[in-house]
Every structure is written in structure tokens, then in C-alpha cells.
Symmetry: D2
Subunit: 382 residues, 4 copies
């Protein structure tokens, strides 16, 4: 059965990501944005239990009533929950308990999917799988934060293979003025925030074929870009000064040489790789310093077939707003996207941490302007 | 001379606004967003001294070198400054000192404008006058906050006349799909953020001919809208709960009846007036509860000739972003608008506190999503 | 009538202290510990109205019912009050309003004291006068903070005369081991915290005849005392690092020379004056660095007849705790001292800002360990 | 060899305490005051490595140079350290790594103690063992906090035996006025803060033979003691209101019945047990409400032979201050006690969590006034 196969493929991939962890790595939450890996393991399981098994699988016995409290992320409609900043305070349920929970739900899902589900449930299931794929990326970003902020700088996986950087000399791609169609159009899965497909009018513009590299970003640092207010938004300048930021996250200047924490541990900075782990504020300041700007998400999408993308999420100048005619789903699922559409910026593309098959040219990722723990980079426009 | 006449007209209007104040009212700063009136009096004067007299009036003697530190608002390029939250800690310079400073600069400007200024300087002067008109509105909003948060609820001006509310039954205005031109187009003054005039593609939409009234907003309160997470953005919901907001700013429920602080003191709520002093979060939640939405700034501008506006600034769904081809001015003046183009929402229209002649259909006002001390209201779209 | 004479003498002295202020100086509150001078003027008046006129003067008409809310300091038993940090946000009542209130209460007190009051009321009156004398000292300390933190460094009173520093070469005074009697003993006024007189056993000790001077304290600064954790309490070290303290309050290092803000404005540091405006943490660290310690309040009192004191309050090693048999008064007056007897240190002596006739060898002043805006100095013991 | 035997006895006891934990329980730090158990395991080991093996055992090879950074608690003299609030963010070193470290140091200590150490080193060793016994108690208090704040309320050890409560009817013990000797006097180990033995003069007083019970404390709750400002210090009242405290830590009111989290999990409150896990503020308020007071540490010690103590630490009215002639040890060991002697209260006695043989009538424990996670109770005096 195809759905069940896909279900297990996704579920096993989550577990494969965690296979390099020590038990202790599953538990900690160094900052509010990062969740403990064991929480992700439980939360993705809770999603299937809450939205599929409990409402649709007659006779299903909840694994543990307390788990709703522990593993609800932000769904106000599904009851109280552990506040986000407290996730790292919970030693129980243990990692083993949570894997048992996972197995229990997987078993029930196997039984449940023995009969072909209704279209509605199939839709929920596909949403749940896409949801889990999103958490697979969060697992990698959170694990990188947990290990990369440990004073021992342990490797995550010595055999981890970074994608190859394809740095071309293609320069800038010119796009003509006119009306473009934006948004998802097709039969396969997309998130509600990619709908509806609609027209936008774009002035002519140029967009870079390449992401900004570490070498290029170092020029900004060496030109004292972090200490010159003229390149920054007022709010970005406050952020730089209050956070004492001097370089991308995970970079370290050691005895005059630049190093970066990677999944292999601390390594000499690779100059030709795309710069990564920068905030929107930094992306904007860099572009400003270059006398250019970031593309809007519409410019990005309209040109996306003309360049390679996928090693780092790309900050756009666009705020995360609803497309014309956007409508939330009913019930708890309706909290998925719409309620975050304020004071966040859209990122386009995908990153090396994005799960296989989870990227689309119409995909709208979004984060707050000061965050850096995601794999985020810069493409210039002018 | 026309420029000089206009200069004095604007300058005297600022002083007229303050004519109802006691000396003590000029001094306090109850929250960071509000500035003490004496600071506005000094800062608008400092603007002319710093950007016109010092660079362009040969032989001009600065009034007091310390005043640059005291009255610089946010221009990083013009040196250090008193941090914003400390403005209300300064008892000196006194109100009289600052009026002397004002007179001194006005005298110098009179002399300076005896000869027709160059086009560049005339442009700066007009910017300075528009800048002072903006501070005239801020003076009124800040004075309202200062007096409206005093436990004695003193009136600002018993003879103050609110504009009449023109509540029509015009219902919704329908606008057709297509390309519209947005942005300022003309020879007179506009701010840099209104340029360039450019095309946008709009889907068809409907926009209300009226602002939402106090009576209509009370229905939202009575329907428990402030306690139902479903209407709110996640960030708005956090704001409502943490700030314990239950109604618009200045509203008070006394013995079962609703009152509002106005420039006349505490008065029974006027049900047909537009609701005012609400945050973007509240505007969004109200629209959501009604099953509608806020217009974008483009929808607003494209339809603006078809409805009356001007008693309250209108929150739009649009984030404050640069128009295509936006370019900052060189030097300190370049800090005027561009550096605030992140994490703010555009307001369109004007309010009863806006100075005469200071409004345009292309005017882009902007504030953060949680702020309420401005005269801000709601127009619905669908 | 003696009581009435004394009443007016005290009341006029308060007004004399304020006679050097501009209206604006009365209004501001740069930090929570400092109150606006107009608040002191109102609060000392409120004390007589609340505790004497309202309960004991038949037919007395309260001046304004709102003033209880505005001018109550910390008496929970007397109703709600403006929270301390908001005092500087109130532009109304104006300074003139408050002086009218003062006059109104003084008139009523004159009438009321036309007949000799009962012993109970006379006792309350004397408490009220001592209370006002305490606020006279607070007025001076708060005014110094307000003007001394203004970037213009205005003088308070050019003709202000600092007491002469009597620096003797008397060295250390030796006191023998044994039982000493501590606490107030007499018929005149004292605060409840000075009672009961009781025995303490003291080991032999030596106490300095002089306060530590600015010159001596400079040696500590020059020896890098502010950057060596070994001299500090753990909590003091956190305070030094977080507050970035490098010298006493009001000291400024300008072009290599030390200056201090005084009631005359900014002046070159007087090396032979006692060091002043230091926290307990600094007093302790200095003593520690010298290989000595601060005296306990018992050691101080037992030796107090053998040295001069009175230009700066002297930090002691003693925590502010009740004497054996301490009992709070009934009602609101009982909140005067007892409820502050935790996490504060006792200061002994008096300062140049203490009102004439308000000092005693048994007087127990008290502040938190990080505060510096009082006139506080150091006497060493070993 | 006696010292080595004792060394292993203490070290094994620490491990026995942790034998009931899951790996995850070792890792978390729900609040700054609580340390992760694995940190205690490492820190007590680091103490022997740092203060004994590295300086005194020739040829000793440090286990891992990074561990000094990870396991230093507060010794400024021994280099940088992980800030306290970050201890719970460290997944590495793992629990197994730390037990290996422990074994490595124990092996080295075995070799080192093969030859009788010098008197100086023996003294350090005994200090290290007493230090570890203190951390044994902290382990129990921290484990109780970690499990007791988990929404699943897991038991620590189902077979844990609480000491029996010996509630007698002995009433109050009267002690006569006079000179008493206070402080440690003997040849065995004591901490530096118990020295020097010295005379104090005490007024006559009465001290209760029993600790206040849960039943008695419930009367205070039922009399609305948590909502009546008159019983509280001003700072305590702020704490109660800001922290929304309504009962002792670990108490829960469920369907009208009182429960408490214990090492067995959630249990019905035992009314005859001493009240436990209350702050100094609560102890003071309770005594005040009873019309009594807390004893001073001197009153406690002078009477300590006349009552039973040891199930809960007893808050005293005494601030934690140096005894006459107190002198810090040289070097890092000197940071052990002296630098905490400000803004803390002395607790006397011992608790059920105190390690066997670790209690003395002269022992001075100390905590800040708002803390409750220790086993802290109330003995009344009058």
C-alpha cells in the first residue's frame, strides 16, 4: 500500500537522523527556539495520534493521556501544553518511553491503514508526513545548535556528506517587466500558504545566479560591516549591538583563522561555500553594503527555473503575508500557517537539511528577522 | 516671502498645540514611545539648526553645543544622543530654555531666508516643515497619553473640537481586477517612501466605505473576542495575554458603562465614532472575527478616491517595505524612512490629529503591530 | 506654642531646600529609588493629613480624595497607591497645586494645634516631623541625582556650603572586650527600631578615628580593585560586572583628571574629603583590600563617643534586624520600620544632608547593599 | 588506610543516590538554582582533581583539559567556567563519560593515598569529602525538583524511607539571659564559617521543642495568611505577589484535598510531618501571624541540646555574617564560604537529605530568603 510505505519511509528517516545521538543529546534545549530532539520524536508521533488515530480509528486507546500536554506544540485548540521554553526541563518521558510511544502509534497506523482511508484522512496523513519532514529539518538544525554550542564541539556524524557547492560564474540573470503567476498549481501536496495561484506585476530586475559565498561575506566583515550603522535597519542595528554579533553563527576566529562548526565538528572555513546561518538583518545589511538588495519572494519564484537552489534557505525582502483569497482550514489544522503571518520574513528555496522530496519552487518558509539557527543564506538582486 | 511665511505658520502651529499645557506636562515620559512635549519643541528646532543653519548659514553660532546630544532623535550620523527612554529624566534644559532656543533659531532662519535659498536648501526646508508637522501629530498623541494616564484625567482643552463622524450606509465598494498605479506622482512634496510610482496587479476586492465604529467594536468585545485565540495571530495572542488587554486604549468600564478619555477628559463612549487607539493585532482579530480582512495598502490607495478618510489612521495588511527602485537620500537625511522598513505595518489615510495640509492618498505611515497610542482605526475589506 | 513652632520650622525647612529648583526639577524620576521632589512635598503633607487631621480633627475636609492615591508611599493599610516607578510619570497635580495642598494642610494644622493635642496625637506629630526630616535628606539626595545625571550638570545652589572635612591623625581607637549596652535610652524621640536597649557582648576591636578619604579610595581604584574578584562578595562581584561600576557615583574621569558632581556642579575631586556615594559592596571590598573590615553597628555605637561623625553615613557589617523585644506599632504606623528588616544593611552616623537635630548615636539608617545615591562612606575596623 | 576508606565510602554514597535515576534525569536544569545531577557527579570529582591531584600528585595526567571549564562551580581563581544557568544545556560530556572521569580520578586517588598524605593535603581531602557530602544533599534536593516539576510526577525511589516525625508535646523551652559560647570547638572537621568560638549575650527567650507541622501551617493558609500583607516583610510581600505563591513548594490542591510531591511521587499531605520547602519569607510570615518570631542562630545553638532536630533545616532570623575574627583561607579554597556572607539567612540543624555524619550543632547552612527547594522548616521562638 503506497501510503503506508511512504508513512514508514518518512518515519524511519526521522529515526535515522537521530541514530547518531547520545541519549543526553535528545534532552537539552539551549535556547527557546531549539527543541530537544526527543520532543520532536514525540511531537511528530502525537500529530498522527491526535489528528488521525483518535478521531478516525475506532477503538484506538490513547498511549498516555499526559502526552498531549507534553507534545502539543502550539495548537491552542487541542488543550494545554508545556510552554515552549520548558521543553528542555523534562527528563521524563525518557527517550526509550518516547520510542515506545512511536512504535505503539506506528503499529496502530499500520492497522488503520490496512483499509484505504477516506480522502479526508489521506489528506491529513499527507499533511502529517509533510509536517514530519519539516521536523526532520528542525531536528538537524536543533542538533547542530545543541552540539555546536557545547564547549567540546562534538561531531554529529563523521561520515556526514555536505552537498557540493556549485559555484558558477553566471553572474546576474535579467527578468523582464510584466505580469507573473505566483503560487502553487497542481494536484500534488502543497501547504495552504502556497495558495492561491495569482498574478503579480513585477518591474524588470536582475537576480544573481549564485548565493553569496563565505569569501564574499568575509569582505563585508573585513570592511567593518558589523560596526557601520549605515548598512543596517534601525532594529537590526539594535540587534547587532545588543547581541554583540560579529560574524555568522557557528563561526569562530581562532588565532587569526576562521573556523566553523559543522556536522563534522570544528573545521577551517570553506571559502567557496555559500554563507550560512545568518539572520535577515545580516542578509539585508550585506546586500545594502554591496549597493544591491534582496529579491522579493515573487521575483525569486518568477526566476527560480533559471538558477540552482537548495543548499541554503534564501532570505527574501518579502514579509510573510497571506496570498489573495487565502483561507485557513477549519479546526486545529487551521493553526498550521495563518496565525504566523505577521512580523516574519519569507525564505525561499531549500537547504542541505531539507528532507528529500520536500522542496518546491512555490514553497514558502518563514522565520523571524533575528534568527540564525536555520541554514539561511543570501541571493542578491538589483 | 512664501517659504518664510510657511515656516512661521508651521512653527506657530506647534506652539499653539502646546498652549494648553502646564509646565509639568512638558516634562514627563510615561512610556518609551511617548516623548516629553518639551523634547518635541526642542527636536524640531534642532532639525533646522542641524540640517540647515549649521551647514548653510555662514557665521551661524550654535545655540548650545550640548543640545545636539539632548535633541537628536535617531540620526546615528549626527553623533551621540540621549537614549530614547531617558528623555523623561531630563529636567534641564527647562521649558523656557527651549523656547529661547526656538526663538533663537527662528530669528536665524528669518535672516537666512532673507535671501532666497538654493533649491537644495529649499528642499531641506520643506522636509523640515513636513517633519515638524509629523511631530505636531506626535505632540497630540503624546499629550493624550500623558494626560490620559494621569489618575486625575485632566482635560487637554475643554474647547477642543473633534471632527464630525460621517457614518454613511454606503456599504462595500467593489474594485475590479487589474493593474493599478501606486505611489506619488506630482511636483509637490512627498516623502521618499512614496516613490517610485509603479504598477501593481490587484485581484478584484471589496472595501468598506466606512470605518468600524465603537458600537461595532463593542460587539466583538461582548462576543468575548479578546478571549478567543482563534481570531488572533499567535504573536497577537501572546500580546493580548501578557498585556492583559481587554479593550481599546483609553476605554474604561465604570459601573457597567463604557467611558473613554478624550481631549475633554473622561466622557461616555460615543458609539457612532470610529473605533480608535487599537493595535494592528486588534484590527486583524476584529476583521477575522467578522470573516473579513484588512485591505492591503495598494487596495486602499487604488480605492481611496471612492470613500472618505481622515479621522483615524487605518491599519493595512501590508508590511512597510520599499517600493521598487526605492533609494535612500545621502547622509543623515537618508535615515528618515528606509531604516524602519522592517517589522512594521503600513497605515493609510490620516487622523484627527494630523496637521492641516499634511495628508495625501499616497502617504505611508507606519507603526509596530502592538502600538496603540496613535489614532488608529479599522476599515474592512473582503 | 512649642509644637506648632517646631511644626512650622520643619515645614519651612523643606520648602527652603526646594527654593533652588526650577519647576521641571520637581517632576522627574530618573530611577525608581529617586522620587520627584514634588512627590516629597505632597507626601510629607499627606502624612499629616492622613494620620492626624483626618482621624483627629473633627470636621476636617479632605483637600482632594485622589491625593491619597498619589501621595501614599508604601502604607498598604491606607489603600491603593501609584506604584513607585510611576511617580515620575505624573505631570498633575502640578507643583503649584501641591504647594496649595501644603498650605491648606498647614492652615488646618494651625487651627488644630490651637488646642494642646492629646499625648497620642503629640506623639504622632513628632513622628510626622521626624518623618519629614527624613524626607528632607531624601530631597537632597534625590535632587543631587536628578541634576547630577543631567548632561548639563547644573548646580543646585552655588552658595551651598559643604561641611569642613576634619581629617585627624588619630589612627585607630582600641575598645576592650566585654558587655555593652546598645539602643536608645531616654525620654526624647526615637524610632521604634532603636528600642529596646539591650546588652551585647563584644570581642575587643579597633575602629578608625577617621573616614576613608577620596585619596585613600583612589589607591584602591589605581590598584585595580574594581577588577579583582578576590576583594568582593560573589553578589558584589556580579553587581560590579553587570553595572560596569568603576568608581563612586558622581565621579568622572575627564582627560586623566578626576572630577565629582557636587551641589556646585562638576568640580575637581577633593582628595581629603571622605569618600562618598559608594555601595555597601564597595565599602566591603575596600576594607577587604586593606586587610581590614567594616565595624558592626554595635561596635560603632559602643565607640561612637570617641570619634567625630556626621559628614557621611557609614556602612556597617550589620544586617538590619530587630533588636530583642522589638514590637511594631499598631495600624499603618507599624509599617514604618519593621517590614524592611530583611536584606538591608545598617548605616550609622549621619551625613551632610541630614537635617539639623535629626542625628543620634543610636540612630539606625538602612539601605540595600547596591545603592549609592545616599551620602554613604567608610569607617574601617579590625 | 582510614582516609582512603572514608574517601570511597563518601564517593560510593554519591553514586548510590544517583542509582535510581534514568540517564535523562542527570541532564536537565529546570531553574538556575538546581544543577543537573551529572554536573554534581563531575564537579565533586573535579574538586579532588583540581585541589589535590593536580597540585600534589607528581606526574598526574589531567583527564580532560576541557573539564575544568565545564565543572568549575564558582571558583574565580581556577579560570573560566560554564555560567550557572547554562549547565542544563550541555549534553556532553555524557553521563558515561563523567562516570569514566570519576573512575579515573578515584584510581589516581587510590594510588596517591597509598602513601600517607601531608597534614595539609589530608585537610584538603577532608574538606573535599565534606564538600561532596554537601553535594549529596544538593543532589537529593535537585533530583526532587527535577522529578517534582515533571508533569508525570515520577517517583524517585519507591522504597525511600522518610525519617519518622517525632512530634512531642514538649511545648516551649525557656533559656535564661546571659553569656553563651557560640561556634565550633574541637579537633574534628568544621567549616571556616563556624570559627571562631566566641561569646554572645542573649536575653532570656523561649524556643519551641517542635518544628511547625503541616497541620499548623495549613491553619495559616486557611486564615488567608498568603493574602494579608501585615504578616510579611515588604520584600516578602512583593515576592508572594509576583511569584503567585499560595502554599509550600510541592503542595498541590486537587479536588479540595492537599497533596505533596515526595520521593514516592504525589501523596496525600501528611499532617503531622514538619512543614517543609518554605522560604524564609514564609517562615517569617508564619511566625509573625502566630505572634511569635524565628530564633536567632545564637539562640538556636545555645538551646540545641534541649530539643531534637534533623528532619528539616530551620530558618533563623540571623543573617549570614562572619564570626568575630573570621579569616578566609588563601587561594581558591578561600572562596568557599566568605564570599557568600551577604543577603543570605542562616539555617541551622539538618534535614532528612543531609548525609549521615554531616551534621553538627554549630553547622551554619545559608540560603537566600526566597528559596524553597531545600528541605526547610520552621521552629518558633518568643
Amino acid at each position: 500500500m503506497e501510503l503506508l510505505d511512504r508513512y514508514f519511509k518518512v518515519r524511519k528517516h526521522t529515526e535515522a537522523i537521530c541514530s547518531h545521538l547520545q541519549t543526553e543529546d535528545y534532552v537539552v534545549q539551549p535556547v527557546a527556539d531549539v527543541s530537544p530532539p526527543k520532543w520532536h520524536i514525540g511531537h511528530t508521533t502525537w500529530f498522527f495520534e491526535t489528528f488521525i488515530l483518535k478521531p478516525y480509528f475506532m477503538g484506538y486507546q490513547e498511549f498516555d493521556a499526559n502526552y498531549n500536554f507534553v507534545f502539543n506544540s502550539y495548537y491552542e485548540a487541542v488543550g494545554n501544553r508545556v510552554i515552549r521554553t520548558d521543553r528542555g526541563n523534562l527528563s521524563r518521558p525518557t527517550v526509550i518511553d518516547i520510542y515506545r510511544y512511536r512504535e505503539y502509534v506506528d503499529d496502530a497506523m499500520t492497522k488503520f491503514l490496512g483499509h484505504a482511508p477516506s480522502a479526508d484522512v489521506a489528506e491529513l496523513l499527507v499533511l502529517g508526513l509533510n509536517h514530519e519532514e519539516q521536523h526532520q529539518e528542525l531536528l538537524l538544525t536543533d542538533i547542530k545548535y545543541i552540539l555546536g554550542h557545547n564547549p567540546l564541539f562534538p561531531a554529529y556524524d563523521a561520515s556526514y556528506k555536505s552537498p557540493k557547492a556549485n559555484h558558477s560564474d553566471a553572474g546576474f540573470i535579467r527578468v523582464d517587466e510584466g505580469i507573473y503567476e505566483i503560487g502553487f498549481n497542481g494536484d500534488s501536496f502543497c501547504f495552504d500558504n502556497e495558495l492561491n495561484r495569482h498574478k503579480v506585476y513585477l518591474n524588470s530586475y536582475e537576480i544573481s545566479a549564485n548565493l553569496v559565498t563565505n569569501a564574499e561575506y568575509l569582505e563585508f566583515i573585513n570592511a567593518d560591516g558589523y560596526h557601520d550603522f549605515r548598512h543596517w535597519h534601525a532594529e537590526g542595528w539594535d540587534w547587532v549591538k545588543n547581541s554583540k554579533v560579529e560574524c555568522p553563527l557557528y563561526w569562530h576566529l581562532i588565532d587569526g583563522g576562521w573556523y566553523a562548526y559543522t556536522f563534522h565538528g570544528l573545521e577551517a572555513l570553506k571559502l567557496n561555500d555559500p554563507v550560512c546561518h545568518i539572520s535577515y538583518f545580516e542578509a539585508y545589511a550585506y546586500a545594502n553594503w554591496k549597493g544591491m538588495r534582496l529579491p522579493t519572494e515573487f521575483e525569486w519564484e518568477a526566476a527560480s527555473s533559471k538558477f540552482e537552489w537548495g543548499k541554503a534557505w534564501e532570505w527574501t525582502e518579502s514579509s510573510y503575508l497571506p496570498y489573495p483569497g487565502f483561507a485557513k482550514a477549519l479546526g486545529a489544522i487551521g493553526e498550521y500557517n495563518g496565525k504566523f503571518m505577521v512580523n516574519q520574513k519569507v525564505l525561499r528555496g531549500a537547504s542541505e537539511a531539507t528532507s528529500p522530496g520536500h522542496s518546491r519552487a512555490t514553497y514558502r518558509n518563514f522565520f523571524q528577522t533575528h534568527l540564525r539557527w536555520q541554514f539561511t543564506g543570501i541571493r542578491l538582486a538589483k
